[in-house]
């Protein structure tokens, strides 16, 4: 099967609407197709990755732990835009840790989240075959 570069673009906050959750479902299913997958978080999408989410008080399922499972599905490139974080008063320290084991480097544990600039995000976007937006 052809291998294509897939980018999933997340620009919306979690829980207020379902897009963040249903985007994650696509990423998980898509992993089985062995494409070259990247996931972008910009604008309010960066809020999806905050640590310490606890949805007990709103009766909605907390799906944030699922991001940590992405490494097991070989989804290891989570691009987070620095300017989006800054505008929201967030830093990398506010995000949960997501890692993967690099099979090309003796299974060393490496961070999946890559903080990049807006210009670099534009480069990532321009380097894709398929862009799916949520």
């Amino acid at each position: 099967m052809t291998t294509k570069k897939f980018l999933y673009v997340n620009r919306k906050a979690p829980y207020g609407t379902i897009y963040a959750l249903e985007s994650l479902e696509v990423v998980l299913i898509g992993a089985a197709f062995e494409q070259d997958v990247s996931v972008a978080f910009l604008d309010d999408g960066v809020f999806q990755l905050t640590k310490g989410q606890d949805t007990g008080g709103i009766g909605v399922k907390n799906f944030s732990p699922t991001f940590r499972a992405l490494g097991d599905y070989d989804v290891t490139k989570l691009y987070v835009e620095r300017e989006s974080l800054e505008e929201r008063g967030l830093t990398e320290a506010d995000l949960q840790e997501v890692t993967y084991e690099d099979e090309d480097d003796d299974w060393a544990e490496k961070p999946s989240i890559r903080i990049i600039s807006r210009a670099e995000m534009a480069d990532v976007m321009a380097d894709q075959d398929v862009v799916l937006s949520f």
């Binding site: 709103i58 009766g59 909605v60």
Partner: protein, 130 residues
């Protein structure tokens, strides 16, 4: 005090139906009355009895149906909004020549006048939407 509540967005897609549910529960617990909840726009989709959410998610329709039963709530689904979106009760299905219906127990279909009436007869009106 009497509270009227409007739900304007569909279940799961927007948090509105969840927020409204928790608000109505809290209002009842505080001793207020909630004479009616009006479902408008995509809010009418809350009333479908055909949804099958994943087992680890809440069932929004069942939550509302149970709350309505416990407190004798009047859950009104706007007929005009419902027709566009394919939400029908048995009578409406018959009247429109449709071969199925999908409204759950505890909800009833009625006109927009019920929204205005709710605004007139309650002390406060709160809308949960998009």
């Amino acid at each position: 005090m009497k509270f009227g509540v409007v739900v304007s967005e569909g279940p799961y897609t927007h948090q509105a139906a969840d927020s409204a549910y928790l608000f109505v529960k809290a209002a009842l617990e505080a001793g207020h009355e909630v004479p009616r909840v009006f479902f408008y726009h995509d809010g009418v989709n809350v009333a479908t009895r055909l949804s099958v959410p994943p087992q680890d998610e809440r069932n929004i329709q069942e939550n509302w149906t149970a709350l309505a039963k416990e407190h004798e709530l009047d859950l009104v689904v706007c007929i005009a909004a419902a027709q566009r979106r394919g939400m029908l009760d048995e009578n409406e299905a018959k009247r429109q020549g449709k071969d199925a219906d999908n409204i759950a127990d505890g909800f009833r279909i009625s006109g927009l006048g019920q929204l205005i009436e709710m605004g007139i007869q309650t002390d406060r009106l709160v809308t949960f939407g998009d």
